[in-house]
Amino acid sequence: MRTELRSTVDRLDRPSAYYQSRNKRKRGDHGRDNRDGDSEMANAQPEEPPEDPLRNATTLYVGNLSFYTTEEQVYELFSKCGEIKRLVMGLDRFRKTPCGFCFVEYYTHQDALDCMKYIGGTKLDERIIRTDLDPGFEEGRQYGRGKSGGQVRDEYRDDFDEGRGGLGRAIEHERMRDVEKNREKDQHTEEDYGRLR
């Protein structure tokens, strides 16, 4: 189906560097991985494994969803590339609420490729979403792998993203602690000097 020649234009239906790097690290026996959290580390060379597990992939990882985006919305958009066989929403490991990613499984590999080409990088619920070919959903992967239960990227994000719970949770936590500390300090101050004001 594909020409052996390199195309004169890049293709959008290739797996991201994330997948490649993940594979590589797996072979190197490094432990955890979480896609959006580690994508910056994706500087590995594309090294083709002998049997490409994505060769007939029908599943896509979908990232950068809003926590409020519903299954129905995902269905409405992703059905434009073919009938959806299964949809698994990503959930916060502790709260069991959507945490901004999902797995969409199609019936055919072609539908999944088309989705990469035509839907990845467009908007759903007014957010640019990211799609990546995926070797297939396995039980357990629906949960966020961040410390506090969501995705890793939502731990340390220092921008305020309303659709994804505001600030990164670790940072939020830190700030809360600071506020808490300050308040304590303030209280001390108040106790000590308050009446003088």
């Binding site: 004169t8 959008l12 519903t70 129905e72 269905y75 409405e76 434009k80 590339c81 080409k117």
Partner: protein
């Protein structure tokens, strides 16, 4: 001089050239090895980027590449890479073909050996494509060879075109339904202008005239299948705007026009023509060695190839404007530019960003002066004087994409691809593209009443998807008067359908916020409710107690033994009231399933999965029970038909309901809307259309898999389905439907209903015809 200026210190860093030069001189980052990239890599990069710059120094780019290739012709790697790349460029980036040809022509003037090698490659590639019926690739190779006509011996490309025509003639004589012959004639007619732009000598004018004399018979005759794929479905007593817009018919006339104007072909670029100061190079070009074109053989039996062929109709959303913002159909430019754009769009589906870039840059690839400056507002076109072009590049680009969205029976790629191209184009150049899209939308909206109904649905789907990428912003105020039209009016039906689709991609409150006051009534409070009420929670609903009990059992995943007693209770109560027991229990049960699963599609699907045996039994028991399953889903989700449609789709997969029961439910019973109102609802069309696509898709899979076991049954089932639709729709279309005869309802809506019926009928008759044609082509050889 320029160099000197650039070397002035403190000149800022806004000049790309400057930085490039500086880096070249001092090369501060040697580790990157950017500037000693091997020759083949450099040439590849230059060739791929050919003509992209809006500065239009074509001759410089062309000569620069040509000289490097010619000077290093002994570099085996460079030569191979160049000879590989040229044919590939021609197939993948067709807008650049004339420029690639110019490079080759200049090389020929320096190192004529190269051309022999290249011609062998291109002609054998062409032959290969002819063999497998990849007609677009054939056309693209021929376009390239046509641009090389000036360095070809003898009659150049003409003998091959003659041969192609002979085949076309034979095919057309053999069958009036033939589409390969039509395709071949199209290829011939689209190749001629490139020959004439490359070699405008008198000898070729004669040859072209002879060829066109021959094609005239086929090109001027309307094709038998054209009515089937006309994007318009004209109302009675009127003519379709595209009735006389057969692509090859127009081409034939446009070329005759050109011939009588001495083949001006003013839109085509001629990068092989050197400016006056390059007189030396021009002389070399004029006197370059000529080569014999290796022959390209055509197999005994030509085939249609992987994509079914249909005659083509030229479609434009801008033709009715008072000022020309796109080439008129009388001009060959309309066909040539459209052809090159469509090839670009359909070939590059694997990178919509690049496609969009090509669309925005379309003016780079045609002769200077073909278009007006980019992003010129439409209103400004009025002020253009002195016969200068008023063609807006954005309009031409958008028009091309719309012609694919509105292509019947189906465009080459999934519709969402064309959506994504428009989205990207809009992202790259919003100020230029958005107003063009606005006019395209207005045109389509004003013409919904006569557009083919399938295309109306496509338009609706695109429109709402597009808005969802741009904050749902649309000037709804301009259609505000249509809000008060009856719901069955095509414009009102579009508005209602669009709002529903928008809500599906977003949520009701958000969409309400984008609408003017007068539209607010169209989004009722039920749409803002995420989870519809469970009707059995109301004590007054018959079987309220049973409904609630069933819901509780389903929630705690109780085994079927616990469910059965309640169903039995409903049955006996129903018998007492002399109503259908199974229908009654099915309503309660299915509604309870919906309610229990109302949290999300996953929930309802899991619930259906758990109860599928019961549902299967109910569905299998009677027609009425099957219909009731659908009714229960549809009424529970009446405010969110998108959810209902998804559920029905899964019920079809489980064979709990049958395709025919869906069709009956939607078109025969009054359940989807009384007195034929169902026909005007976009979601009813979607439900039926998806069901039909599911059936035909499965059939195609079976047939392509070699007509195995059960294929005959599938074929029969499909024919039953179409027959059922025909029967249902024809009575609407002819006004003989009982519901229409009811004197209470006839209040002028009758004509509207009939029209909707006709439009539905046309869509599904076409689908049926296409499936039959597919079966015919794929009949087992036995």
């Amino acid at each position: 001089m320029a160099d000197h200026d650039r070397r002035q210190p403190g000149g800022g860093f806004n000049s790309r050239k400057r930085r490039y030069r500086d880096d070249d001189d001092y090369d501060r980052r040697p580790q990157r090895r950017r500037y000693d990239a091997p020759l083949p890599v450099r040439i590849r990069k230059q060739l791929l980027g050919l003509a992209e710059s809006p500065v239009r120094r074509w001759h410089e780019e062309v000569q620069s590449i040509a000289h490097v290739v010619a000077d290093n012709y002994d570099d085996q790697e460079l030569r191979t890479s160049f000879l590989d790349l040229v044919p590939q460029m021609v197939i993948e980036q067709p807008l650049k073909t004339p420029f690639v040809a110019a490079v080759v022509l200049v090389i020929n003037s320096l190192k004529p050996d190269m051309l022999d090698e290249l011609l062998v490659r291109v002609t054998s590639a062409t032959e290969e494509k002819v063999k497998v019926g990849e007609w677009r690739d054939v056309k693209l190779y021929l376009k390239f060879l046509a641009c090389l006509q000036s360095c070809l011996d003898g009659d150049g490309l003409f003998p091959f075109l003659d041969e192609l025509f002979n085949r076309a003639g034979d095919l057309q004589t053999a069958s009036s339904d033939d589409t390969i012959g039509t395709e071949l004639v199209k290829i011939i007619l689209l190749t001629i202008p490139y020959i004439m732009s490359a070699a405008p000598v008198e000898q070729w004018q004669q040859k072209a005239a002879e060829l066109m004399d021959k094609t005239d018979v086929i090109a001027s005759e309307p094709h038998a299948l054209q009515v089937l794929i006309d994007p318009y479905h004209a109302t009675e007593g009127t003519e379709s705007p595209t009735a006389n817009m057969s692509l090859i018919g127009l081409l034939q006339k446009q070329l005759q026009n050109e011939a009588s104007n001495g083949w001006e072909l003013s839109c085509l670029p001629r990068p092989w023509q050197m400016p006056l100061e390059e007189i030396e190079q021009q002389e070399k070009l004029d006197n370059a060695q000529k080569h014999t074109l290796p022959s390209i053989s055509i197999p005994e039996k030509v085939i249609a190839g992987p994509r079914p062929l249909f005659p083509e109709v030229y479609f434009s959303v801008y033709v009715t404007q008072e000022i020309e913002s796109v080439p008129p159909v009388s001009s060959i430019a309309s066909s040539i530019i459209r052809d090159a754009l469509l090839d670009t769009i359909n070939i590059l589906d694997f990178n919509r960003n690049v496609t969009a870039r090509f669309l925005i840059d379309v003016d780079c690839y045609f002769a200077p002066g073909t278009f007006i400056k980019r992003a010129t507002p439409f209103d400004r076109l009025r002020d253009i004087e002195g016969g200068r072009s008023t063609w807006k590049p954005e309009d031409v680009a958008v028009d091309a994409v719309f012609s694919q969205l509105f292509q019947l029976p189906i465009p080459e790629h999934k519709l969402v691809y064309y959506h994504s191209v428009l989205t990207e184009a809009c992202k790259i150049a919003p100020a230029a593209i958005a107003p063009s899209l606005g006019r395209a939308i207005r045109y389509s909206y004003q013409n919904t009443y006569r557009l083919d109904l399938e295309l109306c649905y496509r338009f609706l789907d695109w429109f709402t998807h597009h808005l969802s990428n741009f904050g749902f912003m649309w000037k709804w105020t301009e259609w505000v008067e249509d809000v008060n039209l009856p719901d069955m009016h095509p414009c009102k039906a579009f508005i209602v359908g669009a709002l529903d689709k928008e809500i599906r991609l977003s949520f009701a409150q958000r969409i309400k916020g984008t609408l003017p006051e007068l539209y607010q009534v169209l989004i009722g409070p039920e749409k803002e409710q995420d989870t519809p009420e469970f009707k059995y929670n109301d004590e007054h609903t018959p079987f309220s107690a049973e409904g609630k009990e069933l819901a509780t059992l389903l929630k705690r995943k109780a085994p079927d033994e616990e469910i059965q007693p309640i169903i039995d209770r409903i049955h006996s109560a129903a018998l007492d009231q002399a109503i259908d027991p199974l229908v009654t229990s099915t309503d309660v049960f299915m509604t309870a399933v919906c309610w229990v699963g109302s949290k999300s599609l996953s929930h309802v699907l899991a619930c259906i999965e758990r109860t599928k045996d019961r549902l299967l039994d109910a569905g299998a028991a009677s027609e009425a029970a099957r219909a009731q399953i659908i009714t229960a889903v549809m009424s529970y989700w009446s405010a969110h038909p998108g959810v209902a449609i998804s559920i029905v789709e899964k019920l079809l997969n489980y064979s709990i309901v049958t395709p025919l029961s869906v069709i009956d439910w939607a078109l025969v019973s009054d359940r989807a809307g009384p007195h034929g109102q169902a026909l005007s609802k976009a979601w009813v069309f979607e439900l039926v259309f998806n069901t039909v696509v599911k059936v035909t898709g499965r059939l195609r899979q079976v047939v392509s898999g070699g007509m195995g076991e059960g294929a005959e049954d599938e074929v029969a089932a499909m024919r039953d389905l179409f027959k059922g639709m025909e029967d249902a729709l024809i009575s609407w279309a002819q006004g003989t439907k009982d519901q229409m005869m009811d004197p209470v309802v006839v209040d002028g809506d009758e004509d509207l209903v009939k029209r909707w019926g006709e439009r539905w009928l046309r869509v599904f008759r076409r689908r049926s015809a296409i499936e039959e044609a597919f079966l015919l082509e794929n009949k087992p050889a036995s």
